[in-house]
Structure formats: structure tokens, C-alpha cells
């Protein structure tokens, strides 16, 4: 620890405003030039020169040491999703790089800007089955927005610049830079120029005037328009424009899982989440509206159910930045190819003010049915055992709906999505498209480090928690005050629910014999409480929220509860079920 905090790896020599530095140091300086303040990673042989360079910059760049590389990328994703900045993660070659793959796929399908940097064997050894060599470029080609291998130090700054530009612009996504060991060690004249364009890549297309006119006409003519928003609204920062559009048109607004919070969930025109476990009204009315205005969403199969019976009666306006998504699943009447913020801003002045109270009231009538059949029992159950829904309700109440809610994947995720309040933007961090169990704990760490001023509550099932439990060590070492709520039913609950409903209750390999989660947390130095009785829940949540650091709340919930409403696989959204 005697080395000075200033970079001493190589002696910087001024050569016409360029510094003579190693590739590794050039990487670190490039990250600083891109405004990176935090990265998540794990060292190993082929990335050691970069780690050595990082040591010299440790007062400017925080490195969070994870316990498994999957934790690094999920933390980078959580960081990006909570802050809107680009997440960065670092891994060694071979197994280190391979362990990033799940998170890369997750970031790709959920449009999360992440820059992954992997070490690679010496360029002379490429292709020779060297120690810890894998062809990570080919492995990640179908999972990244762009990837590149750098074998010459002098190519490194431009590669980093292009990587950050591509990760954050257009439809964001993961990019990967694979750095051979010799490229990290060799010297170069360092100069950093940010990337501002790539030929034929149009991150923010000009919106067609004719399409805007056509869309405005459809919206004005519609009697029963339904707006469905996705994460595209959040990614483009178009929350204010969405709010203005909602209030101008008087239309009900629903969202996908990743669009939660784009419109505050306490807004009077908010009608809930669509999709497999979405709200009854939002699903049923999808097949009764006369116009579907889809903004920054991609008609995922979990949203649409059977496509051949999805909103067939409606005209469709699709606002979408990724041209490949337009007409992929649903052929729109009018396509508005562009960034959601640009499109909505251009659309607003063309729209007349309308009220659609009677149409909105139809959603409220559906809500009343859903409340009686589902919500009341979820939030205020009468049985002796705690239910997931009521735990989420208590969390929302105790955090005044202001927390960033991070979830894992499964039943608890759907309860968290349905019953949390999302009043502020970027408050819902969840693995949507890929459905990656193990996401929540590391993502929560990333979210908390990105937004230290906000309360970060991770709602996690007992199954998913055990996929990345080891990141408790990361939370403690990084001082990430994440509040972890384990909803433990000793089952892989969502799979068990499907087995009950569709596989004749044959519970094949879904029961879990779990550890004592409190002891496990305490072994890492994380204070913990176990709650089983309804009467203890409120005080336990208070204690968790009051504790200064990371905290684990182990909540024992009803073993065989189901999530409703449910659109069974291959059913139409109008066949949404309220009970088994």
C-alpha cells in the first residue's frame, strides 16, 4: 500500500499533448475520459496489467470487487438502470469472460448500456487453446450490440470510444472489448477522442412528418385509445412528454414490466401493467380498444399472449427506435420510427385536448372485479400465513413508494411489479426479457452504488437468491446499503404454479431445502431478521430500513400461493384468468 495514488505505472512523457503510457493505463484513462466513476470486476491472469493500472487510479475510479463475474455484469446493469449512465464491468479471459455471458444476454434483451472489458491471452497465442483462452468474440457476437478484440495498444482508445458511443446511443445495449495481454502491456501515445458517429448508424432518426400527421389523426379520431409504454420511454427520458400526452389525450396508460414508472403509478390515468400477470383491465381492454398507441415497447410474447388474437380490432401506432422491432411481431397501422422523446414532443402540438372518462371508467370497473377476486386477498389476506403481495404492500408503504425496487425472477417479481409504487423514474430494476434468476442481489448493489441517496430494496425469491448469494460479500466490502427481502416459500414458486395449473400438480424438482438465511447473512456480517408472523412484519421492515448498511429480511411466506391474474401461455390476453 506504499505506492502513490498518482499513476506511477509508466512515467508519463508529454509528446505533443500525447502521453506515452501502457495500453492498460490508456484503458483506465479512457474510462475516466468517458466519465466512468465505478466499475465492477474480478481480476485474473490475462487482465492483471489493467488491475495494476487501476491501483494507480484508485482515488479516481472505484472498483467494486465482486464474488463471481456474473455479479459484476448484473451490478453494472443495476448501476445503468438506476442512473441512466453506462455500466462498466471487467473480467479476465476464459472462465471470467464466460461468466459474463448471462448478464450480457440480459443486457441485450433489456436494452441496458453496459461496456464489458475482458482480458485475453497474448495475441501470439490466439487460437492455440492457450490457458484460459476462449473465443469470447464469437461467443458474445449474437449477444452484444457490438464487440471488438484489440491486439494493438494504439487501437485501444478508439475502441473504448466507439464502445461507449454504441452502448449508450440509439437502442442501448451491451458491448464488449476483448484486450489481449500484449495490448495491455505495450506502450502507445495516448490521446482520447470521443466517438460521435459511426457510418450508416443512425441512433436518433428524423421522425417522418407524414407519419406524425397520420398518427395524430388516428389519435384524434379514436374513441377508445389505449397507450402501452415500454422501457423506451425511460431510456429516452420521455417521462414528461408521456405525462403531457396522457393528459392531453385523456387516454388510459398501461405499461410493460420494464416500462413501470414511466408514468407514475399514482396517476389517475394509470391502468396497470399488461401481459401474462398484468392487470385484468389492461389485458382485456387491449382487445377492446380501437387504437393501441405502443411507445418504446416490442410486443414481447409475455405481453401479447397469442399474437393472432392480440388487438386485432385496433389500429396500431408503434413508436419505436429500433427499426427491426417495427412490424416484427405486430404490423402497425402507422410506424413512428424514432426516439420516444422526439416523437412524443413532435406529436403533442398536433393533438387536441380530449377527455375519455367513460372509457377510463371501464378500466376501473375491471379493477373492481380484480380487487375483489385477487388484490384484496393478496394484500390483506386472512389466512395465518404471510403472502408475498402483502409484504410488497408493506414495503411500498414504509418507503412511501420512493424506493428503487430491484427484483429477481419469478412469483415475487410479479407481486413486486403489481403492488409496488413507482412514483419516480428509474425505480424498477428487474430482469425482464431474459428472466435471469440471480439478478437481484448484484443488480441492487449496482443500483445502490449509482444512487446512494435512494433507498434500494431488493425483493428476491429463495431460489434466485441462492444463485448469487455470494454477492453478500460484495455488498459488505463495497458498503452498499442494500435492503434484501427474501420471500421464502421453499419452492421455485413460478415453476410450481405452472406445475399445479398445467402439469397436474406434479411438483417435479421445485421444492427447496433452504439454509438459515439469517445465519448465512450474519456469516457475511449482514444483520438479518426472520419474520413469519403478520404482526412482526411492520416492525421488521422498520428495523431494516433504519439500519445503516446492508440488511437481510427473511420472510417466510405461504408455500403454495399463485400469481393472478394470469394469461396462460398461448392464450389470448382477453382470456386472462382471475383464479385457477
Amino acid at each position: 500500500m506504499n505506492s502513490p495514488a498518482t499513476p506511477a505505472l509508466t512515467t508519463p512523457v508529454e509528446t505533443s499533448r500525447a502521453l506515452r503510457v501502457s495500453g492498460a493505463e490508456a484503458l483506465v484513462r479512457s474510462l475516466l475520459a468517458e466519465g466512468v466513476d465505478t466499475l465492477f470486476g474480478y481480476p485474473g491472469g490475462a487482465i492483471m496489467p489493467v488491475y495494476d493500472a487501476l491501483h494507480g487510479f484508485r482515488d479516481q475510479l472505484r472498483h467494486v470487487l465482486v464474488r463471481h463475474e456474473q455479479g459484476a455484469i448484473h451490478a453494472a446493469q443495476g448501476y445503468a438502470r438506476a442512473s441512466g449512465r453506462t455500466g462498466v464491468c471487467l473480467a479476465t479471459s476464459g472462465p471470467g469472460a464466460a461468466n459474463l455471458v448471462t448478464g450480457i444476454a440480459d443486457a441485450q434483451i433489456d436494452s441496458t448500456p453496459v461496456v464489458c472489458i475482458t482480458g485475453q491471452v497474448h495475441s501470439a497465442l490466439l487460437g492455440s487453446d492457450a490457458f484460459q483462452e476462449i473465443d469470447i468474440l464469437n461467443v458474445t457476437a449474437p449477444l452484444t450490440k457490438w464487440n471488438v478484440q484489440v491486439t494493438r495498444a494504439e487501437d485501444l482508445p478508439a475502441a473504448v470510444a466507439r464502445a461507449f458511443y454504441l452502448a449508450r446511443t440509439g437502442r442501448p445495449g451491451p458491448v464488449l472489448i476483448d484486450l489481449t495481454k500484449d495490448a495491455q502491456v505495450a506502450l502507445l501515445d495516448f490521446r482520447y477522442e470521443p466517438c460521435t458517429r459511426v457510418r450508416a448508424y443512425v441512433p436518433r432518426p428524423r421522425v417522418s412528418e407524414a407519419s406524425l400527421e397520420a398518427a395524430a389523426r388516428l389519435l384524434d379520431e379514436a374513441q377508445r385509445p389505449l397507450v402501452v409504454v415500454g422501457q423506451g420511454v425511460v431510456l429516452s427520458g420521455a417521462e414528461a412528454e408521456l405525462l403531457a400526452l396522457a393528459e392531453r389525450t385523456g387516454a388510459p396508460v398501461a405499461s410493460t414490466l420494464l416500462g413501470l414508472g414511466a408514468l407514475p403509478t399514482d396517476h389517475p390515468q394509470w391502468v396497470g401493467m399488461v401481459g401474462m400477470h398484468g392487470r385484468y383491465g389492461a389485458n382485456v381492454k387491449t382487445n377492446e380498444c380501437d387504437l393501441l398507441l405502443a411507445i418504446g415497447m416490442r410486443f414481447d410474447d409475455r405481453v401479447t399472449g397469442d399474437l393472432s388474437r392480440y388487438a386485432k380490432q385496433a389500429k396500431v401506432i408503434h413508436v419505436e427506435l429500433d427499426a427491426a422491432e417495427i412490424g416484427k411481431n405486430v404490423l402497425p397501422t402507422v410506424a413512428l420510427h424514432g426516439d420516444a422523446k422526439d416523437v412524443l414532443a413532435a406529436l403533442l402540438p398536433r393533438l387536441g385536448a380530449r377527455r375519455r372518462d367513460a372509457w377510463l371508467a371501464e378500466f376501473r370497473a375491471c379493477d373492481a372485479i380484480e380487487h375483489e377476486k385477487v388484490v384484496q386477498r393478496d394484500l390483506y389476506p386472512e389466512g395465518p400465513q404471510l403472502r408475498m403481495g402483502e409484504v410488497v404492500r408493506v414495503l411500498a408503504e414504509k418507503t412511501h413508494g420512493e424506493a428503487i425496487v430491484v427484483t429477481d425472477v419469478g412469483q415475487h417479481q410479479m407481486f413486486a411489479a403489481r403492488y409496488s409504487s413507482f412514483i419516480r423514474p428509474r425505480s424498477c430494476v428487474t430482469s425482464g426479457g431474459l428472466g435471469t434468476m440471480g439478478f437481484a442481489l448484484p443488480a441492487a448493489i449496482g443500483a445502490k452504488l449509482a444512487r446512494p441517496e435512494r433507498t434500494v430494496v431488493a425483493v428476491i425469491g429463495d431460489g434466485g437468491f441462492q444463485m448469487t448469494t455470494q454477492e453478500l460479500g460484495t455488498a459488505v466490502q463495497a458498503g452498499a446499503a442494500v435492503k434484501l427481502v427474501i420471500l421464502d416459500n421453499c419452492f421455485l414458486g413460478m415453476v410450481r404454479q405452472w406445475q399445479e395449473l398445467f402439469f397436474d400438480s406434479r411438483y417435479s424438482e421445485t421444492a427447496m431445502q433452504n439454509p438459515d438465511f439469517c445465519k448465512l447473512a450474519e456469516a457475511y456480517g449482514v444483520p438479518a431478521l426472520r419474520v413469519e408472523a403478520r404482526g412482526d412484519l411492520g416492525a421488521a421492515v422498520d428495523a431494516m430500513l433504519a439500519s445503516p448498511g446492508p440488511f437481510l429480511l427473511h420472510v417466510v411466506v405461504e408455500r403454495e400461493a399463485n400469481v393472478f391474474p394470469m394469461v396462460p401461455a398461448a392464450a389470448s390476453v382477453s382470456e386472462v384468468r382471475l383464479e385457477a
Binding site: Q149, V202, G327
Partner: protein
């Protein structure tokens, strides 16, 4: 719309390592087999042209082209039906010289092919044409004893099409609006 036919994709890309794999993987993801694939530099230096033949519906091909264009270094992907392209492939046939006769010579001429090389133990015939023509010649040569046969992938030029350079200029004008 969902009727399958043979379609030609013309894909224009930057010359970058790994792009071939990315483009090819876009087909395999949809469980589509590539019938033929040819890559070469286009009339614009540094811009490569992929000619890809695939059997699928126009609808799937349209989605495929959009997903191919999503790759950052792909400049543009076009889908063409057979009627929209002028297309050729090259085939080489190595024939056993034992049974050669005057009929063989007139067969070659009749198919618009030519003898590229004559050796004591083989003759190499070259044919340039559509894939149907090359197949027809293969069948015609079989009685003479085909020792080896190889054909290239299709190369195709579109009938009317906006020149690529003009297209790129339009994209650049659009990108002027970029963030």
C-alpha cells in the same frame, strides 16, 4: 405473404472482423439454412457486398433483413426476388477423358460452357450461368463420368436500384440529426 421462395439478399457492410459470423448467425437464430453465400468488395472501396440466397417467405426475409441491418457495421440489407436480380454462378466440372467424343464437344458448346484445361487424365469444364443451368450441365455430363464438381455461391446484381453511394449519402444526412 407466407409462401416460401428462393430469395436473394444483398447486404452491404464495413470490412470488419467477425461481421460474417454475425450476419450468418442472424439466419441460424431463425433456424434458416443459407443456400449460398458470396462475399466480395463492392464498387466502393472498403464496403463489402454479401450475396446470400435463402429459401423462406418474403415476410421472414424482410424481418431478417431488418435484424441484419441492426448490426452496427452493416450499412444496408436488401431482399430481392429472382425477377429482380441478374444472377450468375460459376461451376467447374472435372470429367474423365476416356469417353470424350464429338458429342461431348457439342454438348459443351450447346450449354455455353468451355474447356478450361485438358490433361491426359482429366478435362476441366467451366460454366457460368444460373444455378438451374449449372445443374442441367451436371446432369448432361454425368454419362461421361464426372470426377469432381464445384460451384460458387450466387453473385447477383439488382435490376433497378438506387446506387449504394447515394443511399449512404441519405443516411449521412439523417445522421446529421443524431444526438
Amino acid at each position: 405473404m407466407n409462401h416460401e421462395s428462393e430469395l436473394t439478399l444483398s447486404v452491404f457492410t464495413e470490412n470488419r472482423v467477425g461481421l460474417l459470423g454475425r450476419v450468418a448467425a442472424t439466419f441460424t437464430r431463425r433456424s434458416l439454412n443459407i443456400e449460398s453465400l458470396t462475399v466480395s468488395e463492392s464498387e466502393l472501396p472498403g464496403i463489402h457486398r454479401f450475396t446470400i440466397v435463402v429459401r423462406t417467405s418474403r415476410e421472414t426475409a424482410r424481418k431478417l433483413a431488418a435484424q441484419i441491418e441492426r448490426h452496427v457495421d452493416v450499412l444496408k440489407a436488401f431482399v430481392h426476388t429472382d425477377g429482380e436480380v441478374v444472377q450468375r454462378e460459376v461451376a467447374l466440372y472435372k470429367v474423365d477423358p476416356v469417353r470424350l467424343s464429338e458429342a461431348f464437344e457439342s454438348l459443351i458448346v450447346g450449354h455455353g460452357a468451355r474447356v478450361l484445361e485438358r490433361q491426359a487424365d482429366f478435362v476441366v469444364v467451366e460454366h457460368v450461368g444460373s444455378d438451374a443451368d449449372t445443374s442441367a450441365l451436371l446432369e448432361a455430363l454425368r454419362p461421361y463420368g464426372v470426377l469432381e464438381f464445384v460451384r460458387s455461391g450466387r453473385v447477383a446484381l439488382t435490376r433497378p436500384m438506387r446506387p449504394l453511394a447515394e443511399f449512404l449519402d441519405a443516411l449521412e444526412r439523417d445522421a446529421g440529426n443524431a444526438r
